[in-house]
Structure formats: C-alpha cells, structure tokens
Symmetry: C2
Subunit: 350 residues, 2 copies
DNA sequence: CTGAAAGCGCTAACAA
DNA sequence: TTGTTAGCGCTTTCAG
C-alpha cells in the first residue's frame, strides 16, 4: 500500500504538504503539481481509515431502514445515495427488519465505526432510542417516521393529507361505504393516514355527501388495524367483507396490505372497480395488475434525497434550529376506483 | 468517548490487558472480571476505526450489486447479511446500477476503507476489473456472474439447467413454437440461459417431439436479445408477435423482461396460457398476476448466504484452492403454461 | 508556505 | 500472565 509518506518522499516534500494538497491547504502550485504527479505514479489513495481515526469522523453515512424488500425504501435509499455522492460520502445500508434490537445493534455500529451521520426510518416510534448518538454529537435525520421525543431533523410524508385526498377521491367516485385498512395502532404513519380518512368522512357527513344515518359506521365500524404486511391486509379485508353491511370501497394504508386486500377480494368474488380499492403507496410493476390500481404516490426518492441533504448540512456543522420537512403526496387515479357501477373497457381488464 | 485507556485506568490494569479481555487473550479470570465491570460502567465500546487501522483490516464487507430494486438482489443481500451476522461483520450495500464506472469507484472505496472483503455481482463480464483487490490481498467472491478472467471464488446459478428445464416444460405443455427472450449478448447469464433453451430445442428436434421442418426457426429465428429490463422485454415480445409465423410460447430470461413481455402480449390481445409464458426468476407479489406465472425459481437467498460464508472463510485465512459453487434452480409450475388449448377455471383468471 | 512532531485508539511484539 | 513500547496512516498545531 502506498502511503502519504511514500508520496512525500517521491515528491521531495513532507507528508504534511502531501496532506495539504489533498485537503485544500495552501501549497505553491509548483510543489502541488509535483505531489500530484508522484501520487498518480504511485497509485496513491488516501487511507480512509486513518483519516477517520485522525479526524474522529468517518466518510460513510448509515441508512437504517426497516425493510429492504419494500420498494418504498429501496427508492428512498437511491435518493440518499444520489445526494451523498455529491459530498463524496458513501452510504451503508442497514436493514433493521422492523426489529428494535437489530436496530440498536446497528446504531452501536454507527458509533463504533465513527460514521459521519445516520439517517433512520425508525423501527418503532417508542422503542427507537436515538439519544446515544445525540450524546456523542453524531448528526441524525429521521425519515418517514419520527421516533417519539427525539430531537432530530426529520423528513416526513404528509400522511394525513394523503389519506384525506384518497378518501375524498373514493367518495367523489360515488362509493358510499368507504372502509379504511390502516397499520398498527401507535405507529405514527398509520394514525395519520387514518386521521386523514376520518377527516374526509367527517366532512362528507357534514356537507351531506354521505347520509348522516349511522355515521358511527363510517367513522369507526369500517376501520381495521393491521400490520402493514400482506397477510394483515388480507385478513382485515376478509373481516370487512364478512360484515352484515360490508363496505363498497377501501382505502388501504400501505402497498403490501393492498396486495393482501386484493387477494381477499378476489377470494370473495369481488373485484375493482365494483369494489373500490385505493392504495397508499404504489406497488412495483403496477402495470401488471388488472384493473390498474389507483394509488397515493409517495415521494420516496425525494424523501431520501432531502434527508441526505439535511444530514450533510449538519455534518458540515450547520447549527440551524431543528427542521421538519413535510413532503406532499400525489394521487394517481386509475381504474380500480372508477366507481361502483363503472363498466371498464375490455382492454382494461384483460 | 471512553477508550481502552480509560477502562484500563478504572480497572487498574494496562491497556493491553483490556485489549486481551476483548480479543480472547489470556487473562486471569479475576482481572478479566474487573475489566469487564469497568468497561460496562463506562459504557465502553471498542473503536472499530482504530481497530481497523491497527489490524489493517476492517470489519465490514462490501456487497456490490447492480440493481437494488430487483427483488432477486435484495433477497441475495439478505442472505449475505444473515451469514455475515455470524462473524460479527457488517455489510455495506453498494448499488452499482449496472454501471462499470460506479462499480470501479466502489471497489476503490472498498480498498480505501480497508474492508474485510467484497462480494460482487459484476456489472459487466469484461469491464469489471477485480485485479486491484487481488493485488492487495483483499478476499473477493463473485456472485451470480463471474467476470472474465478473475481468479476468485464464485457462487453461481445453474442457468443452463434452468433454461433447459423451462424450455422442456413448455414443450411438454404442448407449445410448439417456443421463443426465447434472453439478455444482452456477452452477459454470461443470458448466454447460459439461452444455451439451455437451445439444448432443449435441439433434443426435442432429435427425438421427434418437434417436427424437423424448419429447425432453423426454432434454434435462431425465435431468439431475441434484450437488456434485462422491462422495456427490452416489451419490445422483444412485440417483435416476436409481429413475425409472419409468431411463436406460441416464450421463455423469458429474467423477471423484469417478463413484465414487459406480458404487457406486449396484453397489447396484442394475447394472454397466457393461450400463449405460454415462463419467467426465469419470480416476480414480487406474483400472487397478484393473473393467470399465475410459471417461473424458474432462483436460489437468491442461498446465493448470498453461500457467498458470504465462502468470503468469511477466506477472510479467516483459508488457503483452499479456488471454488466455484453452482446452485440449482427449481421450477414452479403455475397457470401461465397450462398449454395452448387449456381452459382455466374462472377463478384462475378473475 | 513548509516541515517537524504529536497523537487519534488500538494491537502485537517483546520483556519481565 | 502482564506491562511497556512502538507504531498503523493520517491531520494538525506550532515553529520557522
């Protein structure tokens, strides 16, 4: 391995000068050129480990996500990676598997590896403890979910708005018994999406769009909590369909549960758009699904990109007050919410 | 930050003793206990950066994959991660985007970060150069694809066998004009899968399963090279369908291209199993696709797990001769290859 | 602008 | 078994 000392010797200067050349110190152009030439000839690459030890700060940032198989998080990861490139930081991807213990281990590694900073989509709102990092002055940005009581920058999705827009769309499409399959109780994302649903329903009751008889039904009876996974979505939907007066549409609060919900619908012989289905978050290769699925579009890439940008500011020493950035969702209207009586052209179904 | 010296002072021993306690050196139980207690009280965690610098070897392994959004690679990544846990190594996931330059950059980082080793699914068979790592004695395992001329351990899929089994299955299902949409020319995976296809066709011609008139058609005319991406699969299939005498089934050499191929079929008003479709590699949430898709199952998780195990042996200093492990594929028969005249029960289509 | 020197936290010879 | 010592490769005062 060629070291800074080898280069120094070859260029006839001191190691300090070589270091300055590579770190923007003041060096006369002539000597700088000599150093660069020597470095190139010897194939010198600064040893990042030594740099990290000396500077007490590494050049990688940790990205902790709960599920690497969820396309939402892979897309987020790409955003982080792209933003990190700009500063020459590399990204270590750690898959916490929605598991607080695994997450804690990775946070420990982040510390022990002296990472430059950490971006974390917390495995749990209450179980995730970011304080050891804060205590050691390591910059942290929370993304998608904000752990309770953590004083860190955060980049979040406007879940409530997304849930509201979704539910409003279903009502506008003339569905009248709109259910909501949301995530686990206590998860901020589920609660917020549910809150959006409730707000939309409440508004519709208030302005007469929905008949006011049995308002309880719509605000509570048609709500199911599940686990954000395929199986949970399936059982929740099966449960809804078994009701005496089942819903005629559902807002499903994440992509995986939507897959399960569609399976349950199919098993019951009901299909969109006769039964309206709206997914919070797209499914991969949505093009294959017939009829095509109306979805709330999440800014996953931007979430990652923004978080990484914020983190880099902190790493660079920014002392701004803590920020929370909230990114808006979009709505992609497709066939699965065409309306309870809609007839789709054959091409949309085959 | 508490260092080994702090612990040593608190326990009334030398730093070396503390180091021994944490690295399995010989220390009297009594002193060891004292050290551990002190370490716990002070919340000591060994500084991995300093360890790496001193030992000239880090405790992370790099995993370079071409496409983090492909479920095949995420599953492989999980296998690597699980295997790595056993030795306490962490995994840095690097997404090379099928881009040789990006890949080279990451390989440089692996060196500069003194990673313990690297597992690489090469972006290119000829463009990927692993020699700098070999030159510096860094253990490398190639996975899924083996770069040309690299003398490294490798864990591969039996692509040829998979392609052969797939094609045989289509023929057995009474399809007679079986096409093959394979990957880019020059990629070992595409060539091998294609070779399997050709072998099966040749056998069928030889034993009379296929009429021997126009053998050229089957061996060459029905073959298309595409780019392993959705768009490529779509155009290749469109091209096949536009032939004067189009195929009645296709073996598609990866999951993404299958998605495209299905889109092209749908656009042409043809659907499986009337037109047989067999995908090399499963699609995520396959349960949503109707009719359900027959696939060659890839041992992606095992690929990763095996590669990581091999790598760890090398890291531990194993001097065995170079190994190549080849893992077999499976075949999951579903509805999309039920036969050209098959009538599926309604439930399979709705 | 440049070089000498100190030291980041840890481990591995070597001595005791 | 234990402690002392000498660095791993780099950056950063501090003099010059």
């Amino acid at each position: 391995m060629t070291t800074i000392t080898d280069v120094a010797r070859a260029a006839g200067v001191s190691p300090a000068t070589v270091s300055r050349v590579f770190n923007g110190g003041r060096v006369t152009p002539e000597r700088a050129a000599r150093v660069r030439r020597a470095a190139a000839e010897l194939g010198f690459e600064p040893n990042r480990v030594a740099q990290s030890l000396r500077k007490q700060r590494g050049s990688v940032i940790g990205l902790l996500i709960p599920d690497i198989e969820n396309p939402f998080f892979t897309s987020l990861a790409r955003g982080v990676e792209d933003a990190a490139q700009q500063t020459g930081l590399s990204v270590v991807l750690c898959n916490t598997d929605e598991n607080v213990d695994k997450e804690r281990r990775y946070l420990g590694i982040a510390l022990a590896e002296q990472m430059a900073g950490v971006i974390v989509a917390a495995a749990s709102r209450v179980g995730t403890d970011l304080s050891p990092l804060a205590a050691r002055g390591m910059p942290v940005v929370a993304v998608d979910r904000r752990p309770k009581g953590a004083s860190v920058d955060a980049v979040l999705v406007d879940n409530q708005h997304g849930g509201e827009a979704a539910t409003e769309h279903l009502l506008r499409s003339r569905y009248r018994r709109v259910a909501c399959v949301t995530g686990p109780e206590g998860a901020s994302t589920s609660e917020e999406r549910l809150a959006g649903y409730r707000a939309a329903i409440r508004d519709a009751l208030a302005d007469g769009t929905l008949p006011s008889d049995g308002p309880d039904d719509l605000l509570t009876a048609y709500v199911r909590h599940a686990d954000f996974r395929v199986g949970g979505g399936r059982s929740a939907m099966a449960d809804l369909l078994a009701m005496e007066r089942p819903p005629d549409a559902a807002f499903v609060a994440n992509n995986l549960m939507t897959v399960g919900a569609l399976e349950a619908l199919r098993a019951a012989g009901r299909t969109p758009p006769g039964f309206g289905v709206l997914s919070f978050g797209g499914v991969p290769w949505a093009g294959l699904v017939r009829p095509s699925l109306t979805t709330v579009e999440l800014p996953s890439y931007e979430l990652g990109f923004t978080a990484a940008t914020l983190l880099q500011e902190r790493i660079a020493g920014s002392a701004k007050p803590l920020q929370t950035v909230v990114l808006r969702t979009g709505l992609s209207v497709r066939d699965s919410t065409a309306g309870p009586g809609a007839r789709l052209p054959a091409a949309a179904l085959e």
